[in-house]
Subunit: 387 residues, 2 copies
Amino acid sequence: MKRPLLVAALLLLSACAQPLRGTGDLGLVVERADGRVMVVETTTNSMLASVPGLGDLSHAALVYSRDARFAFVFGRDGGLTKLDLLTGAIANRVVQSGNSIGGAISQDGSLVAVANYTPGGIKVFDTATLAPVADIPAIGADGKASKVIGIADLPGRRFIYTLYDAGEIWIADLADPARPALTKFTNIGKLPYDALITGDGRWYLAGLFGEDGIALLDLWNLDRGVTRILDGYGKGAEPLPVFKMPHLRGWAAAGNEVWLPAIGRHQVLVVDKTTWKEKARVDVAGQPVFAMARPDGRQVWVNFAVPDYNVVQVIDVPSKRVIKTIEPGKAILHMEFTPKGERVWLSARDSDKVVVYDTQTLEQVAELPAAKPSGIFFTSRAHRTGL
Amino acid sequence: MKRPLLVAALLLLSACAQPLRGTGDLGLVVERADGRVMVVETTTNSMLASVPGLGDLSHAALVYSRDARFAFVFGRDGGLTKLDLLTGAIANRVVQSGNSIGGAISQDGSLVAVANYTPGGIKVFDTATLAPVADIPAIGADGKASKVIGIADLPGRRFIYTLYDAGEIWIADLADPARPALTKFTNIGKLPYDALITGDGRWYLAGLFGEDGIALLDLWNLDRGVTRILDGYGKGAEPLPVFKMPHLRGWAAAGNEVWLPAIGRHQVLVVDKTTWKEKARVDVAGQPVFAMARPDGRQVWVNFAVPDYNVVQVIDVPSKRVIKTIEPGKAILHMEFTPKGERVWLSARDSDKVVVYDTQTLEQVAELPAAKPSGIFFTSRAHRTGL
């Protein structure tokens, strides 16, 4: 009689072998070469687990569940993986398309949408079970399927995203998941390559690759349609060949400004969020890939495309001056600030490490080994629209 | 040999009887009459635990640890309680003064500071152990101890707070906790009754009770000193007797505006954050206590002092119009938005319940029984300066 009870007790015990911990100081680092994701904590800067089996993560993004316990990882091979940060294990996984570049989670946390290159369109899943909920091909006015980029969540059960090939912006409302309602904005510009939504969920900006300018949509006044800002901002100078597409995301906002990589140039554009006019440009060390504002908006950190990707620059926002150029490691692919901004983590892919900087002293304070790290994502994103 | 093993296994098992969960969707509701705090989750709107033994919570505030697992509850009787949301139990508790009204946690999460009425001043503690670290009496230029109000964290290990009686603003830098460095701004105005820091950590605003106007400090340019804004905003109208002091906190910011209760009036002032000039006033149903912006800044919700405290009004920010007046229950003391703003929780003290509203439909969607509830605090505050 005692033995089965003992075995049962030991089995249950091993199941809760995880000590209790909060999820507020956790994060994930993509180890792109190995299809692994590393669970980290930012209080003492350590690794908690390394999770294999996530497929092709050569370009990966992720979003968090509203309780910050789970991540939904979007892999390049179309894999959608639900990862449990507390157990350091895969909770669920589906391969839902041929080629995907990102996704979003609904405001209420119930749905996750994946943006697919192949086949072009979005697919929506129930976050609890990963059961498929909707499949919305991105067939543009030209009758062809487009790659989908720049997907973000809107209030309600809505997602906004952009059709790269067709040059359109769509909003899908899944209040009734069986009957998604689509709102389409056509002819928004040539080859929108990425898009961001501001943290307040009001403004959607799509950067154009086929022409100089940004497509802008006021989500609180959809009847006004898509307008064009920063038109011809590159006029007068020959653009350089683009080695790596800049990435646009909601961290670009610093106070009442939006800081955008100027595609094909060694510059960051500063845009006034009230007038949507350019107010400044900052010359930088190379072609910017990410321009990320510290959470308080007092600094913007910029990383670069090859061949300048061993360098990161820190810009003081009030003065618009580069205040430091640092070399944290080789091939800096991504940066992420702790929620209150006191530290920033940077992935140095070719140095096989993640480095941690103090944003006040601008000095390195820690590093962690990581195999070809790329994206870094902290759980504070769980509470923010568009991230 | 088997029995001790079995007993040990069962003991360990009971110790980890808590199922794993994230902390991102948790919150706390103060049950003021009973000295209890209720742990809630906002995904399905339920109570997880009710924790007794927190002393006098007739006026209580709290802040969260950076991992969002613990809350530091500041009780009116000077109690400082470290509460574990995952176990639903008190982790530690000290009674550190005679009478306290609030506190703050340092940017790196290592220190918690309590603002005391009696004796006037702040006391700072190690968040891991609650060991005392510093005791800084608030002796004003007049040589007398002041009540301390409006405490918030600043980057680094700094705290900013206001001396009510002396009319001063102090910054305490605890980089070296044994030797706090103080920066003092004197003659900032008469009887500053509360203060807020904007979410970017740049602006500190202290509301004045002794005169019309707000004291403003630019934390990125301390050499400019304290300036006065909204001077004489009440001129021309006799102020009403103030039944309850308005509360100022960082949620007052909606986009590039700051929304402030006009003390002694049935109005909310709208201030332009670029010029610090009044841009609008909104007439409301009573004397506002809290004016809280939805996280996207598209609505401001207002509750009121007695006798109008059974009413809450919703203001549309772009149009500055009251779009709804609701009666969620009796004696609405506090409101809190979910991190992405889709819902708001309100405490109805004299209805012994907390009610949950959908901020899109403006309809009630849930309620939970609670004994004389007052403050409601969600864990997303863990990631925000000044909250």
